[in-house]
Amino acid sequence: MSIITNINKVFDHRIRLGIMSILMVNEYADFNTLKELLGVTDGNLANHTKSLEQAQYIIIEKQFIGRKPNTRYSTTKLGKAEFKKHINALEKLINK
């Protein structure tokens, strides 16, 4: 039972898992980088980043580079900890 409780519902989606994986190993990533790596549409990516932000797992920063708007994403401490827990739970499920 305890294994199941560590599976995080917020991460129970391919794209959200992908966003978190990229942000775990990078200080930050911008919108286009995420889009290219994950191969998703703008709207789809925006939705998933929003729900990760609502869970306070990532921070969304909007800024301007010259005149171009640029959005970049990074993980919070909470997000990192939750992601690690989730991965551990996945591994335990597989090795069971």
């Binding site: 992908g18 994986s21 775990m24 990078n26 290219e36 991965i87 996945l90 597989i94």
Partner: protein, 202 residues
Amino acid sequence: MEENNYLKDISEIKDLMNKSSRFISLSGLSGILAGIYALIGAAVAYWLVANSGRQYLILDGKIFRLVLLDLFLIAFISIVTAIYLTTKKAKKNNVKVWDASSRRLILNFLIPLVAGGLYILIILGQQKYGQTAALMLIFYGLALINASKYSIGKIRYLGYIEIVLGLICAMFPGYGFWLWVFGFGVLHIVYGALMYFKYDMK
């Protein structure tokens, strides 16, 4: 059934982590060519010194400057070749050459290399040239190890070997030339060939 999905998740996570943080388009062929350039350059340097009428190299202007120019040319042509072949490979694989991962790779490679290069120039200016080959090998090895965190292809091991060679070279400065030839020529060819068959032939 569920288990298979989780396994797929995990492998996808690993793949994304690698793709987003490591630059994987370094061309093995450019390693082979860099090694060949180094061998040719070393042969030219050897010929220059052998025909200078002395059996050793001193800081007496012309010959020394030609050897420095020779070294500079090896480095320059190797870099141009690497950029060209890597760009070509990246295009073939449909990935960007100039992105966050390649920028990080180059920056981290250049920090020890530039520091070492400047140090060598400074001590050359102070007439201390016995350790030049050793220092080049050591700093180049450190640069490779530093860069290896941002690339795949195990350049870390090439870095370790270069450092060991550099230290041996520091103990036996008389063999500096041959150790340099081995470190920059032969090793690049061997390593480039290994990478070429492992990653590029696919």
